[in-house]
């Protein structure tokens, strides 16, 4: 498969009064053409900051992308772009869907004009052609009576419809990469199912690559080809969807999978919970960031960051449990057997 996007050792910090918040601390992953990659993690783990960096939306200051970070899009380093190049890239090559559709849409413009704006900015077409294209897009995302809806304003639409409009705007110029930042978090389960299904269909139809950012592993089971699990600004595990769901190699991933109550579970049974809270990223822990909450923590976890172990098919996990000398007793998953790779 051909590579579309490659994030290499991305480090992003925000300067605040309390000190430097190291939101993203060395994230690397790849997205191939036509692939859906899910980035999963809890709030504050840096998943949204990573996506903003890919879109060039990090405000500096207070944000800062550290030296040595690279984001390659079709072999061009995005971080060396000038503002003019960014403008061409955003919307046309790569576009984004945000979590809260109501605040992301312009309340003073009807939805038709918001789609047309994106088309005329990037393509040399007349207003009428752009309008036709807008109607076609609204139909594509499943909005009934698109020709009439085009004159409506965001407040006249329901949450699910707004999210569909956002998707229509994002797809207006046939981008190669679509970043969906928690597109369904604000929606009900039935609408969530509709939107996820829509993204999946469009992805298959148009061959767009998708980065889906979410905190809910359940949502991505159906749609993701590969999954990147993030914790406190680092990638702790990544691999194919099957690897992550059936053969997790990191205690955090394992606990995340267990924390969701499954319908076949005994009622009122205690759930597997991850005690404690994620660490403060102003003074990130020296060792493994998950050490404090990990039930299998060892002495070395507190002092030295774990190396990344590579398993087959691009499955990798950063955890000391895979070290050959580590005792592998009472573990909920199979450890060891990976190839060590220290950065």
């Amino acid at each position: 498969m051909e590579q579309l996007l490659k994030v290499e050792n991305l480090r992003v910090s925000y300067h605040s009064y309390a000190g430097e918040v190291q939101s993203v601390r060395g994230v690397s992953f790849e997205v191939n053409k036509g692939e859906t990659v899910a980035v999963v993690g809890e709030s504050g783990c840096g998943k949204s900051v990573t996506s903003k960096a890919i879109m060039g939306l990090i405000q500096c200051p207070p944000g800062e992308i550290k030296e040595g970070s690279h984001i390659y899009f079709e072999n061009q380093d995005l971080l060396s772009f000038q503002e003019k190049q960014w403008e061409k890239y955003r919307g046309a090559e790569c576009s984004m869907i945000f979590q809260d559709a109501l605040t992301s849409l312009n309340p003073t413009m009807n939805i038709g004009n918001q789609i047309i704006e994106n088309i005329t900015n990037h393509k040399n077409v007349t207003k009428l052609e752009a309008k036709k294209e807008a109607i076609r897009l609204l139909e594509l995302v499943g909005i009934p009576e698109p020709a009439a809806r085009i004159k409506q304003y965001p407040h006249e639409l329901s949450g699910g419809m707004r999210q569909r409009v956002m998707i229509a705007i994002a797809l207006a110029c046939n981008p190669k990469l679509l970043i969906a930042d928690e597109p369904t978090t604000a929606l009900d389960v039935t609408i969530q199912a509709q939107i996820i299904d829509l993204i999946k269909q469009l992805q298959q139809k148009l061959g767009t690559s998708v980065i889906l950012i979410t905190h809910d592993l359940g949502v991505v089971a159906d749609i993701a080809h590969r999954i990147v699990v993030m914790y406190s600004g680092k990638v702790v595990e990544q691999g194919s969807s099957e690897d992550i769901f059936y053969r997790p190699k990191h205690p955090y991933t394992w606990a995340l999978l267990k924390a969701v109550p499954r319908l076949d579970l005994q009622n009122k049974q205690q759930l597997v919970s991850i005690e404690g809270m994620p660490p403060d990223l102003i003074t990130p822990p020296v060792g493994c960031p998950f050490a404090e909450r990990c039930p299998h923590t060892m002495k070395i976890c507190q002092t030295t960051p774990p190396p990344t172990y590579h398993f087959e098919d691009g499955h990798e996990a950063s955890c000391w449990l895979h070290h050959p000398q580590c005792r592998k007793e009472n573990l909920p998953f199979v450890a060891g057997g990976g190839q060590e790779c220290q950065e």
């Binding site: 809890e42 709030s43 329901s158 949450g159 699910g160 419809m161 009900d188 389960v189 039935t190 609408i191 969530q192 199912a193 509709q194 996820i196 299904d197 905190h215 809910d216 592993l217 359940g218 949502v219 089971a221 159906d222 969807s241 099957e242 769901f245 606990a255 995340l256 999978l257 924390a259 969701v260 109550p261 499954r262 319908l263 579970l265 009622n267 009122k268 049974q269 205690q270 759930l271 597997v272 919970s273 991850i274 005690e275 809270m277």
Partner: protein, 323 residues
């Protein structure tokens, strides 16, 4: 209605209606003829999409909103007719945990004051030292420590704030707690902590929970019985096991089918029942079944007659013309 022994019944809701007038000719029927009973120590879950009236139902039940019609009996007394000391005793026994742990705690008070406020109002202890001891004890029970008592709310994370909210609710030794989406604002890893805490507290104190949420898998996990609401009406009510193994109402089936399952193989194979469209507006709803517009089995009868909740199997109530 849904049958439980009279002696154990804590809460009895009969034909409860709550309408909000929206201008001259429009009425928003947020809760329209809902009936249920709850017995001591059980958890009743109420699920539904946003705008289905589940929060309004909960708040009307504990008397935060005035009712439009119907009766709510708490231990045999009408909640909406209580006055004076009776009302005060009721507000002590019935507590609430709110959805948004950021908005439901006073930012200008210390945790100490937030948790202790109810105890002062109800004059439960004679001295401040006793209240202080009790606050420490409560914080300990919900998994916070003593030092947290002298801090302000903004210093806490979402999960910790929700624990403060729970400590506040527990401070008055309540018997009945209305949990209004207590976990939906929290991260997945923290949700399990809060649910475990609620289950443990129920087992220790014999609390009765009315648990409102839109996350069906969580509701199934914590509830003994589950009621499904759609546009102000209760469409199905049964034990949580039965609801998930034998859902009867087409809406319940669709809701269950929309739950994402964290298992790629199962997800790829299963056939989803997709509901088209959104929840219609509850303003001046058309007569007949509220779900008819989105229901794949809708017939002429559905637009003429409003289905009523009736028993189709032991303890399984459905409001649908199919049964």
């Amino acid at each position: 209605m849904p049958g439980v022994k009279d002696s154990e019944v804590v809460l009895k809701v009969e034909h409860l209606k709550k309408y909000f007038p929206m201008g001259k000719h429009a009425v928003l029927k947020a809760v329209d003829d809902v009936s249920f009973e709850m017995k001591r120590g059980e958890t009743l879950g109420i699920v539904g999409e946003s705008g289905c009236g589940k929060t309004t139902c909960g708040r009307t039940v504990i008397g935060l909103y005035d009712k439009t019609d119907g009766t709510v009996l708490y231990k045999g007394k009408d909640v909406h007719a209580m006055k004076g000391n009776e009302r005060k005793a009721f507000t002590k026994e019935v507590q609430m945990i709110f959805q948004d742990p950021y908005a439901s705690l006073d930012p200008r008070l210390k945790v100490n004051q937030i948790v202790g406020e109810g105890m002062r109002i109800h004059k439960m202890y004679s001295s401040n030292a006793e209240i202080q001891d009790r606050v420490f004890e409560l914080l300990d029970q919900v998994g916070l420590n003593r030092e947290h008592a002298s801090r302000y709310v903004h210093e806490f994370s979402g999960g910790q704030r929700q624990r403060i909210g729970i400590a506040r609710a527990l401070a008055l030794d309540p018997e009945f707690i209305l949990c209004d989406e207590p976990i939906s604002a929290l991260d997945v890893s923290i949700q399990a902590q809060i649910i475990n805490l609620l289950i443990r507290l129920q087992q220790e104190r014999g609390l009765t929970y009315l648990f409102i949420a839109h996350d069906l898998s969580m509701v199934k996990h914590i509830s003994d019985r589950v009621g499904v609401m759609y546009l102000g009406t209760m469409v199905e009510m049964t034990t949580s096991e039965e609801l998930y193994t034998n859902p009867a109402h087409p809406y319940t089936k669709a809701l269950l089918s929309a739950i994402p399952i964290p298992d790629p193989k199962v997800e790829h194979e299963r056939q989803r029942i997709m509901l088209s469209g959104d929840v219609p507006s509850p303003i001046n709803p058309a007569p007949g079944c509220r779900f008819k517009g989105r229901c794949p089995y809708a017939s002429a009868k559905c637009s003429q007659e409003t289905p009523v909740l009736h028993e189709i199997a032991p303890k399984h109530y459905v409001a649908c013309h199919l049964y």
